[in-house]
């Protein structure tokens, strides 16, 4: 089952368990403002809600139609203004340089190939405006859950593909594809894309990268290293 079908299947239950924003996302957004902000892999919209408070226009995009329904319901219930779009992270349906801020949280690891994952990072770079920044996160091998599960060959340099079951209230399990990133591999994929890494942090078993469009900022800040 692909990630789209998976999340369509578990959307209602999944959304209930994703009530609160992640503190790492709140820290990234602290003090940031933009005309337009984008949440890629918005799920039930918990982070789109944070963006809506910091941008004139907040947009959430997700591959799962059912999760978007949950997001629209959350926006209505909680009274925040956001637009939701059905789309693919590796083929974003937004014009170049549209967003001053973007979040791409806990989504990259669901893309099925390295090629698609790097392409999605290129897409983030493309839609960011000059001077814009994004937060990218992915599950990593540093997570407790994978300390023993990692297959031979997975190490500090290379992650691995796996399936993590989602258990519905009735007991039915729905498999979800994950690529679990080794931190060095995560850094390498960002480096291979059109994004520039500004900072990298490991927190709660996830890699978090603050990124900007490559080559950006060199003139503005006058301290570019390129």
């Amino acid at each position: 089952m692909d990630v789209q079908a998976t999340y369509d299947r578990i959307a209602a239950h999944f959304a209930k368990t994703r009530e609160y924003a992640w503190p790492e996302v709140e820290s990234f957004l602290d003090g940031r403002r933009a005309d337009r902000a984008l949440d890629v892999g918005c799920g039930n919209g918990r982070h789109t809600e944070l963006l809506a408070a910091r941008a004139d226009t907040a947009v959430g995009v997700d591959v799962s139609r059912e999760l978007l329904r949950e997001a629209v319901a959350r926006a209505t219930e909680r009274g925040f203004d956001a637009a939701f779009v059905h789309g693919d992270a590796a083929a974003l349906p937004f014009a170049d340089r549209s967003f001053g801020v973007a979040t791409y949280v806990a989504t990259l690891h669901h893309l099925p190939s390295r090629e698609a994952r790097v392409r999605s990072l290129d897409e983030i770079a493309r839609v960011l405006a000059p001077g814009g920044a994004a937060l990218v996160s992915a599950w990593s091998t540093a997570h407790d859950r994978f300390a023993e599960a990692a297959p031979a060959g997975a190490d500090a340099e290379a992650g691995f593909d796996t399936t993590v079951d989602w258990t519905l209230p009735g007991g039915e399990t729905v498999p979800r594809f994950y690529h679990i990133y080794a931190p060095a591999e995560f850094e390498a994929d960002v480096a291979a894309s059109a994004l520039e890494l500004r900072s990298l942090e490991l927190s709660s078993g996830n890699c978090y990268a603050v990124v900007t469009p490559a080559g950006d900022d060199a003139d503005a800040a006058g301290n570019g290293e390129e």
Binding site: D8, T57, L68, V72, A83, H86, G87, A91, A95, D96
Partner: protein, 66 residues
């Protein structure tokens, strides 16, 4: 979707502009209709106010799975 979203959405394939054909509106929002790429002619549906801008091959997968 609000019509102002047209300022930033584009065709996921060639990133060209989209042309709106709204068939149902409510409170200033487009509830149903289509977005057509002005370059490649691909037609993207708007369903329940949410534009479906998945690449067409992923859209077909979804319909097959439904």
């Amino acid at each position: 979707m609000k019509e102002s979203l047209l300022d930033i959405v584009c065709c996921p394939l060639d990133k060209e502009d989209l042309e709106l054909d709204a068939t149902e509106r409510e409170d200033g929002e487009v509830i149903a209709g289509t977005l057509t790429c002005t370059e490649c002619g691909e037609v993207y549906p708007i369903e329940d106010g949410i534009p479906n801008l998945l690449p067409p091959d992923m859209r077909e997968e979804e319909e097959a799975a439904a």
